[in-house]
Subunit: 209 residues, 2 copies
DNA sequence: GTTGCCAAGTTAATGACAATAACTTATGTT
DNA sequence: AACATAAGTTATTGTCATTAACTTGGCAAC
């Protein structure tokens, strides 16, 4: 179902030892997850891409979930880091910067829909892992912290955690409805960046006219 | 992995013909999907619950996806109908009524997380089905229509479709983050009803002070 | 250098599941 | 009473996850 790696694997093809099978499997898994969703991902497919037998992954990962956890960690770290960049470009902690964070969140989901979906999946098994839990807290905590600073520096009296959760929910909902095609179904061609830019200021203004 | 039906199936146990296998499989699938997610659902499990062989479902459904599509249709219809009830209880088309619609949306997701997740899944195969597409449009269109009436009757000048999509995204994000445990991770014990009641009025006020 | 350890591969086997084919049983219509 | 057919069955194939038992070859100690 998935073509085997050709160009970069040719040299390794003959070798018994892969060199960096762990990395190759993670890269393959990421592509497959984004192309077919986490449900459509099979370890066997990733093995075909990497050019190894189906038993090989078990030297590097405990089981299928273990590689998915690795993907979640990678995704959370990248989302967290890209947040800083988005904020910096638009002049720091102000409404425009916070809106840029939101646009960045949605852009991430568009770029890697399968990974995004995996990161915010239902399976408690995946996110109960201590390392995954920690990276989630770091990633989401950054948003709450940023909004907290905004509220403190702009005289917003309401609980900044509540405002942060509202912003997060809104932006997360946009991302989810975009990638599953429901926004396209109801409003084809919708400019989601404009949607975010329009809504974020209203969500920031709480008891602060 | 799933216990067999006992009490109500005892009589049918001896019968060659089930009576209403289609309905029984849909009911079983719904429970399994909510308990273990759509990924954790196997047709074989549903067969064990219904007490039939694993080939039996194919007399009633084309394939596994076909029964999942049926669940999506049921879920969309129920969500659509419960929306009317929520609106009516809280005095019709006003901010309180629209907030009640939102709380109802989240309550639905809490009640049937696996079904909700299935209804808003990534797999294009499921939602490209004409009947599924139609029921989605009806369900989501109701929200847009309601917000449109609110805007018309309350002198809101901005495009009601935009406001409706913003409200939908917000409420959808709350539902998603609640059922996947991320709200609990970052804000244990959060009152999501209060969150919705707080945010909805701000999202409704667009160029309308 | 050779020896031998062990990490990183392999093949082979098991068990669950989706799907299909070929067969059987009841039901209800004529 | 006969039989057409809907609704079941068993049996089979192919895919996948996972484990066990086996090679292979790179590297470190001697």
């Amino acid at each position: 179902m998935v073509a085997m790696a050709e160009t970069p694997a040719d040299i390794r093809k003959q070798r018994y030892h892969h060199g960096d099978l762990r990395g190759a499997l993670i890269a393959a898994a990421r592509e497959i997850v984004n192309a077919h969703g986490a449900d459509g991902f099979s370890l066997a497919d990733a093995c075909r891409v990497a050019g190894v037998s189906t038993a090989a992954p078990y030297k590097h990962f405990r089981d299928k979930n273990d590689i998915l956890k690795e993907l979640i960690i990678l995704g959370m770290e990248e989302l967290h880091e890209s947040r800083h960049a988005a904020l910096a470009v638009h002049g720091g902690i102000n409404p425009a910067g916070i809106a840029a964070m939101g646009r960045n969140y949605v852009a991430f989901a568009r770029r890697e829909p399968g990974l995004f979906r995996l990161m915010f999946g239902l399976d408690p098994e995946l996110k109960s892992d201590p390392k995954v839990d920690q990276v989630c807290k770091t990633c989401f905590g950054g948003v709450i912290e940023t909004v907290g600073i905004y509220c403190a520096t702009h005289g917003v009296s309401h609980d900044p955690r509540i405002i942060a959760l509202e912003l997060w929910a809104f932006v997360h909902g946009v991302a989810a409805l975009v990638i599953d095609g429901d926004f396209d179904r109801m409003a084809p061609g919708l400019d989601t960046d404009a949607l975010i830019d329009g809504a974020v200021p209203r969500l920031l203004h709480y008891h602060n006219r």
